[in-house]
Symmetry: C2
Amino acid sequence: MAKSFQLTLLGTSAAVPYKNRYLAGQVLMVGNQSFLIDCGEATQFRFKDWGIKTSKIEQIFISHLHGDHCFGIFGVLTSMAMMGREHPLSIYTPKGLEEMVTAVFKATYYSSPFPIHFFEIEPTGLTTQNAPIFENKNLTVHAVPLNHRIPTVGYVFREKPSLRNIRPEKIAELNLSFDDIRAVKSGADFTNTEGVVFPNAELTIDPTPPRSFAYCSDTAFEPSIAPFIKSVDLLYHEATFMQNMAEHAQKVGHSTAEEAAQIAKMAGVGRLIIGHYSSRYDDLLPLLAEAKNVFENTVLGIDGEMYSV
Amino acid sequence: MAKSFQLTLLGTSAAVPYKNRYLAGQVLMVGNQSFLIDCGEATQFRFKDWGIKTSKIEQIFISHLHGDHCFGIFGVLTSMAMMGREHPLSIYTPKGLEEMVTAVFKATYYSSPFPIHFFEIEPTGLTTQNAPIFENKNLTVHAVPLNHRIPTVGYVFREKPSLRNIRPEKIAELNLSFDDIRAVKSGADFTNTEGVVFPNAELTIDPTPPRSFAYCSDTAFEPSIAPFIKSVDLLYHEATFMQNMAEHAQKVGHSTAEEAAQIAKMAGVGRLIIGHYSSRYDDLLPLLAEAKNVFENTVLGIDGEMYSV
């Protein structure tokens, strides 16, 4: 069975909490690994609400240093320690978070019992040709320069292509060695000792296609984002306002639901999740309708919902 | 009608949130004024949950700079601004909070649109003879040195004695001037133009007795607290553990439920509220029973509950 590739939204409100909508934060789970993306105040409360295990988080990605995206970091880090964490944590973030965390730790007489490594991302000058900012055996993460009032980056998570799945019965039938299996999974044909060739297509089935997710929040409408997030299966794009507030949205570095859908369409993504709603909107269905009008495969981001690819 | 004197608990968990128990924070409402005492992460979420209006808060009192008592301050301050606050705010706190808030504001490109005044309280050397750290026309607030791992203060709120209540019918009957009324409310007899003396007791009724509340968290068992909080109507005293963990409690600068009750008894308070429970206790009734065994008029602190004097 293919491993899971699942996004859980922890908060979908912009700027201030609103009713059941908490502040920015989401967890991407890929198999046994969890990636935390943004960390608004009360993120650790959401971990408890939705059963997120912080022990599985080894990387945190922060988009920008407005409080609604990062004020939860102090509680997350100190609570990880109280739960006995010893293994290291890496945080990818625009400049400033390390200084802030250091100052808060100092004032609160705190020192982390586990190593925290900060990696500063500078959005200026990033291109689609840049190397990943993070990579492990399963996936890569690239940074995307967003268009907000302060340095802000989005993140694109792309699985690496899997090896082909070998048909289990062929292993015994052809008496394949470990080396043979490795070669066949990589796409090679197999030739037995009598010189008979078994084409790869007879021995294997297609692997799960690599899956991908992009996080774009906060940002004004910015078409230059599209090539960075091209064809991702799942895109979370902020939709703070509706289109009748497009001018205001532009001025404050935010997008409308329609603009989020335009980006989804330009980038040819599979599915769009909108979120980061202004607290002026109690009913979100008009935002959904506006987005769907441009990009049909749009869903509302809802706190606590999980979205699988 | 006497004005309200009411405490609302925002969070009763120690160190980490536990189920419905949030982190340290409470609001004392005296008439139209609200005082925020401690400010754990997600305090602003509790304001929304329990309908607390931040516009009525002009003073915040922080006991100490462990994260579970102060990590909510960033969200409270920035959300106050987003709600249009312009009037000043005063924060009474042990040293370090201003530096921390300044560093966080700087890193997050934020400057407060309303003035924030920090008043540093140094617990060492405080005596019962110290002047109040805050005073307005209705009440005084005194600081109490607590016994925790880092500099920590409790706070005692005491109403000033009210003027006597004049019997309304006497004003017309004796044709009292404003000056007469002021004198009578202060306790004077009244002598009319014919030289007839009307004793004060005939003209007035007793005012509401001054009410008082003390906040003591976090602290190890510390009998020297008792004279500072003598005879308060309501005492909130931490009870992180039960008595079978007294040795551990002492070591980490916390109290047991029994010890909280002993302090209440020594100080001769009216009613004790226990709180700041370790997340090891799911059922709190054993803590209540332990405390009541020493001090009968004890109640469990519960998130969202209001306690009136």
